[in-house]
């Protein structure tokens, strides 16, 4: 994260910042949209209440203050200097409308997923919104604030259900309360956004670049070529790990480090009778060479989480006493024997596990191979089943796997994360765990507003997850993003979604004067 050096070039000018992305925008409705390009572009128009810092703590964005009035009531105080690009004021009504509409229409985006304990929102003043909860939930205020965009009530309400509104600008264009406004779309090629002159969140109150163009390059290789040739100034997608060094040494290209906020993990499906045995899960956990995976596949651009769901980035929660499963195939073998299996003449135990992963996820595709090979050393057969993303999602949803391998991009709040991952019925409880002790701890943490107590509870829960191998967290990837050295002034935020293409960063970036 570089601070603008006060150079003359940081003044608002007529520069165009061209950003490359690999996919098209699927949906312009931020409450529905799900792909990265959707996030990047809609984030420049529909502000979030909160942002996030490198250590995972929430920061003000549209909201200046937030918290709880009581156990089942939360509140946000929002800025009073924001307005929509069509001149309408952005006020608490827009915020309350957005939340209530999402709760009502259940659009398919991530936002709705955060509203489990949400009942309703109300604008109690122009700048204050209060939300009513169905039961105490100590993280919901921050989660809604962080995940939810705010959309203009006067545009979205007349369109009916927010779950079906395309917001494709077909009816008089878009309306933005961010630094840029989408003005022109050529599907498959580019998305052009013009500066909104009044954006109080950027230093000086006006975005520097006059125009931001998102260009679509389906192939990463072409994308990198375009950066090298100067056709684009920034590649929004995180670089493939193997390319980072290469590009770092290329003239005219800078690399920005972006803190990872998520993790990659393997989950063992406990509905499988073999995997229901803790020794088997442990055997598997000890049969993977995590260090090699981080060194080779990720080229060292990843940190160990100590095999704990509490990643080091969440420094308040991180527990150093939990350490990574040691790669020890002999240990694995004895664990398997403890579980009652005997290896055959060929040294293999009579079990076979099917590991699924998405072929579109190239990093996972690579380490899945390594996992398979090291497990074989421990006498455990892993069959790889890499599939196209949709099939993978469908299989995941149906629990049609023995081992699930995947990534979670942002796990910003441990309580929410544990709730979804380890409580029975949780949306990402891929292991199908239902451990009373763990359940109790999570429930308790969820209702605890005292920070220290909460941390203590979560650490206890994490210890159980680690001990029982309910989840096998392998690493947090630190991302690298490449941009042209003709530009400077980006503000890095954690995760690929925010990275240096978050609204403040894009609005602050300025062309370097020769």
């Amino acid at each position: 994260p570089q601070a603008p050096e006060g150079g003359s070039t940081a003044e608002p000018g007529d520069a165009t910042l061209t950003i490359a992305t690999t996919t098209d925008v699927v949906n312009y409705n931020p409450l529905i949209g799900n792909s990265r390009s959707d996030y990047w572009i809609t984030n420049l128009m529909y502000p979030h209440l909160l942002s996030i810092a490198d250590d995972g703590t929430k920061e003000p964005q549209l909201a200046e203050e937030w918290g709880y009035v009581d156990d089942t009531t939360g509140y946000y105080e929002i800025r009073d200097d924001m307005s929509w690009s069509d001149g309408e004021k952005l006020d608490a009504d827009d915020v309350a409308y957005t939340m209530n509409a999402v709760k009502r229409d259940a659009p398919s985006g991530t936002f709705y997923g955060q509203l489990a304990n949400f009942e309703s929102a109300e604008a109690v003043s122009d700048t204050r919104v209060e939300i009513t909860l169905t039961k105490p939930d100590s993280s919901i205020v921050e989660e809604i604030g962080f995940w939810g965009n705010v959309v203009p009530q006067h545009v979205f309400e007349p369109a009916g259900s927010v779950a079906e509104f395309a917001n494709d600008g077909s009816d008089g264009g878009w309306v933005s309360a961010g630094p840029y406004l989408l003005t022109d779309v050529q599907v498959g090629q580019s998305y052009t956004m013009e500066r909104v002159d009044d954006y109080p969140l950027v230093e000086g109150g006006t975005p520097v670049a006059a125009t931001v163009v998102y260009r679509v390059f389906p192939d990463v290789n072409t994308e990198i070529l375009a950066l090298q040739s100067g056709e684009v100034d920034l590649v929004a997608n995180a670089l493939p790990p193997a390319q980072v060094e290469q590009l770092r040494n290329t003239d005219g290209i800078e690399i920005a480090e972006v803190t990872g906020l998520g993790y990659a993990h393997m989950v063992y499906n406990m509905q499988n009778p073999d995997l229901a045995k803790v020794e088997v899960r442990q055997a598997l956990a000890h049969a993977a060479d995590y260090e090699a995976i981080r060194d080779v596949v990720l080229q060292g651009q990843a940190v160990s989480t100590g095999s704990s769901p509490l990643m080091p980035v969440l420094s308040a929660y991180y527990d150093e006493s939990i350490t990574e499963y040691e790669f020890d195939t002999d240990l694995s073998r004895s664990l398997m024997e403890d579980a009652g299996y005997t290896a055959g003449a060929d040294g293999m135990f009579p079990v076979t596990f099917r590991l699924i992963y998405s072929l579109q996820d190239s990093v996972t595709s690579q380490w899945a191979q390594l996992v398979k090979e090291s497990a074989a050393e421990a006498g455990i057969v892993i069959e790889l089943q890499g599939t196209e993303r949709n099939t993978y999602l469908a299989m995941t949803n149906d629990g049609d796997y023995d081992i699930y391998a995947g990534n979670l991009a942002i796990m910003d709040d441990p309580v929410t994360n544990f709730t979804l991952s380890y409580l029975p019925g949780g949306a990402i409880n891929y292991t199908y765990v239902d451990d009373p002790e763990l359940n109790a701890l999570i429930e308790e943490a969820s209702a605890t507003s005292d920070e220290d107590a909460k941390i203590e509870l979560m650490r206890e829960a994490a210890a159980i997850v680690h001990e029982q191998v309910y989840d096998n967290i392998m690493y947090t990837q630190n991302l690298a993003v490449a941009y042209s050295s003709d530009w400077d002034g980006f503000v890095s935020k954690p995760s690929e979604l925010l990275s240096i293409v978050n609204p403040v960063s894009v609005a602050s970036a300025f062309p370097v004067a020769d």
Binding site: A166, G188, T211, N221, L225, Q360, A394
Partner: protein
Amino acid sequence: MSIALFVLRRFGRGILTIWFAVTVTFLLLRLLPGDPALAVASPNMTDETRAALLEQYGLDQPLLTQYMLYLGRLLQGDLGTSFTQSIPVLDVLLQRLPWTLLLTATALVLTVVVGIPLGVLAASHKGGILDRVVQVVGVTGQSLFVPSVGIVLLLVFGLNLGWFPIGGAYTDGVYGTEWYVSVLTHLVLPAVSLTLIQLGSYVLTMRATLIDALGDDYVTLAKANGLSPRRILWKHALRNALLPATTLIGLQLGFLVGGAVLTETVFAYPGIGRGIYEAVTQLDFPVLQGAFLLLAVTVVAANTLTDIAYGFLDPRVKTS
């Protein structure tokens, strides 16, 4: 009466082809595994959300009902609404179609313009060095793996020489003549690589039909009548050999429009092939159905046109 009748029959056959394509797509999408709701929603959605989405998409109804509804709407010109983008399918497709047509038509014209002389060259030097060179060059182009060629072209002509832009269909933010120029420069590399891969089959066809034609009796007659070899080649033999080549154009257009996925991917060209690929990854049934319909229509139109052109070019068909 007869030409009208012929056109009518051709038309009927076209409709049949389109119906076939539409039905195959419809059934494939629904009978093969894959759940559009999952592709659309974030992974942590609830089962209710999923059910609601399926209902919204009309996928909860029996197959036959869905099919009848779909055909019914189709007949009214309604292609449906995209699952993921919530906008009319036609809009989704029309955004990409013009570029695809531009790219493929350019490639086709290039192919014909380069392919005919090459074919003639090979045929008239049959068995000679020139023939061999043309064959090998043509077939080599056809055997190349598109993405590899694309990257090399981009690296050499885009990055190193800087003659052509790296991706996209035009330069943003320029207008007037400059815009047209930018469309042209963006077109060159993808069109060349498409031409390269289809040139082979065109040249080979030209060569084979021309060699056949050169062995025909009317060529001997022309020789016996003292016509010059050049005249015999270009007037007598080529005229006959062009007929099969016409049909090939129709075939290739159809192939090109849908088959340019890889080219479009590498050159970041906003065509329909890439659109289909993306719709597949999003399981956007209506867009896929619409796209296949569109492709079928293109193929049918191209084939019908070449057939009719054939009818007009070949007096045996025209005058009987």
